[in-house]
């Protein structure tokens, strides 16, 4: 419950305060957000499986974000940033879909 409140609060704060993201970090924000979403869906699924662990969640969340940003950064340096970030988004999207599928199985038994 507190966690859901945190999410809502974050969205509200982002809308209200309109923070400015530093120039250098801008290309990585979307990828980081998608990676974090992937971690959140994974955590939700683990909770439904009855094996949620906050430490695992924290580590996976942070490492997801960092690795995703790192890949994009590396891609930018190599000159294939656009393709690589597309690839990252595709992979994360697939994972989000499969997690959502098992969440759905838990919730609706279908």
């Amino acid at each position: 419950m507190i966690a859901v409140l945190g999410l809502v609060l974050g969205v509200v704060a982002g809308i209200l305060t309109r923070p400015v993201v530093p120039m250098g970090l801008e290309p990585y924000l979307p990828i980081a957000v998608v990676a974090a979403l992937d971690a959140v869906f994974g955590g939700l699924r683990a909770m439904l499986d009855g094996m949620f662990d906050d430490k695992v969640f924290v580590v996976s969340f942070l490492s997801n974000v960092v690795v995703a940003a790192l890949i994009v950064f590396l891609g930018d340096k190599l000159g294939v940033g656009a393709q690589l970030s597309t690839g990252v988004v595709v992979v994360l999207g697939i994972r989000i879909f499969s997690n959502a599928a098992s969440i759905r199985r838990h919730l609706f038994r279908a």
Partner: protein, 292 residues
Amino acid sequence: MSDPERAPREPDPAPGEPGQASPAPGSARKPQAPEPAAPDPPAAPATPGPPARPRGRDALLAGLWPPRVTRSQLIVAALLFVLGLGLAIQVRAASADDSALRGARPEDLVRILSDLEDRTGRLEDEKNALEEQRTDLETSSDQAEEARRQTAERERQLGILAGTVAAEGPGIELRVTDPRGAVRADMLLDAVQELRAAGAEAIQINEVRIVAGTFFTDENGQVRIDGRAVSAPYVIDAIGRPQDLEPALNIPGGVVQSLEKEQAGVVIERPETVVVDALRSAERPDYAQSSS
């Protein structure tokens, strides 16, 4: 989330793990052996045994309510707060156009630019074609307008001849009083023919318009024009050049003299404008068709 239920740690596939054998980047896979020494035993007071972990929907409901303020809940809340913040920022940045361009990579920008140039060229071509079409349409509509104007003009001229429209202009007014009833149809016909010969363009007698097909008859001592009875005084309105029309009627042995010989009174006036407003309905010929 499900805090009290996490007491016995199981070998957990990382939360980000779909379960298939696809270790994707960022999934913190931490295979842990089942630890009987759980971190916080007091966290599971209600459920005594490890296998009593709720699963599925029950787990979600148990995690949602009642709210518990614990360290792990707060940590997860903080992470989700960051996620929500990033989400909101990104959505706003993506919905604003210029910042979307600002965050784009140089090669993307080049591609966008060349796309825009292509599009500009296409639109330019389209604009030229449309302008050409507009010019064509304007000239053709001008021509159509001119043709329509000429047609309307011609219709008015022909209408005056056919007696379907009223006419006005300079001319004369011939008033024939007939106290003795001596005026016959042929006398009126003579007057009309004399006026026509002198160039009258539109003629009416009393309320009857005189056109090419007009006929004069005598019937029981009364004059009928086109079958309509007309009676004295006969007022003949003729539009034409008054200097031509009046002498034509006054020539010796002409209309005026022969009328006066029958004891009819004849008065010729030259009003400023003569109005010929008696109308005939346009008749559609049954057999004759325009050959042009």
